[in-house]
Symmetry: C2
Subunit: 183 residues, 2 copies
């Protein structure tokens, strides 16, 4: 039974949204096409009316996830100012809530490990997202203008590293890593 064009667009959005969360929650391999479609309220057969391959869904889901966190940082900066907004985002990044809820968290920390077997184009989407986050964090850095980019890069490497190591470790180790990085 064919559905209207608007309905199809809604379906597409639901599929990407499901993938965006499920990817961060379960990872690339455990995010099956059938599970994503089921979460979006459909069956797996219709998937290929929207995407040529799972690979294409990964790009869409990953980009959507990066969009989410970028706009979160921008909202924080708009509300609290550059310096405090970025500081607040960093504190949130290292919180237990973020470590425990990857589905609504940073895709860089959630999916870095899954890029190992990714195509060049997916790695570009990932690298591009990382650069966008770093550029957003740069606004909250102090010190000489020319060092801010490198400083934001180091800061983000620590944030993402801490969360990735914490998520990979037993709860006790996780706690000490996050606490140490919160300063």
């Amino acid at each position: 039974m064919r559905v209207s064009r608007e309905e199809k667009d809604r379906s597409y959005e639901k599929i990407v949204e499901s993938a965006s969360g499920m990817l961060r929650e379960r990872g690339v391999e455990a995010t099956s096409v059938a599970a994503v479609m089921s979460a979006a309220g459909m069956t797996h057969g219709g998937f290929y009316r929207h995407f040529d391959s799972k690979e294409e869904l990964l790009t869409a889901g990953l980009t959507s996830a990066f969009d989410e966190v970028i706009s979160m940082i921008e909202r924080k900066i708009a509300g609290d100012g550059a310096s405090e907004g970025v500081d607040g985002y960093c504190a949130l990044y290292l919180s237990r809530e973020h470590a425990a809820n990857p589905a609504i968290g940073c895709p860089a920390a959630a999916l870095a490990g899954d890029m190992r077997h990714a195509s060049e184009s997916l790695r570009e989407a990932f690298g591009g997202g990382v650069q966008r986050i770093i550029a957003a964090l740069e606004a909250g850095m102090k010190g000489p203008m020319k060092d801010r980019r490198a400083k934001a890069t180091r800061e983000f490497a620590m944030l993402a590293g801490a969360v990735m190591l914490a998520r990979a470790s037993d709860p006790k180790t996780a706690k000490t890593i996050l606490a140490a990085c919160r300063d």
Copy 2:
């Protein structure tokens, strides 16, 4: 054809060594029991004379990989002194060589993302390895004794984060991340 006990021990070592490198190179999912056994010069059927499950192999391979990097740090410290030895290890960690050769590199950076679906005991092995690395780096930290542990933790989070993000990104982004973290 049964082999001698010494031969079996050699087989075990070869299996763990193969797994240790292949895990870091390809990740947990892509490291099939058959591929590990083949790399060790055997066929997959004999695997279960050494391990009860793939899970058990993961623990052995991961622990062996952590042992490798710990002894590398200790060798650096023994040769160049605590401060310079750790500095040298950090520089090596952020090198293009390390980013390009996960099979002989840090298992924390190589496998953090793969712990998502790991058992509690495997996560403990991972967390334990991370703590051992941090403890080894602590010897090269400066400042008040009581802050050194946290400092080493932050330093390692940045190192591992930088390498994980670099490996996940396109080559251009990877280069800028590693360069920024090298100071």
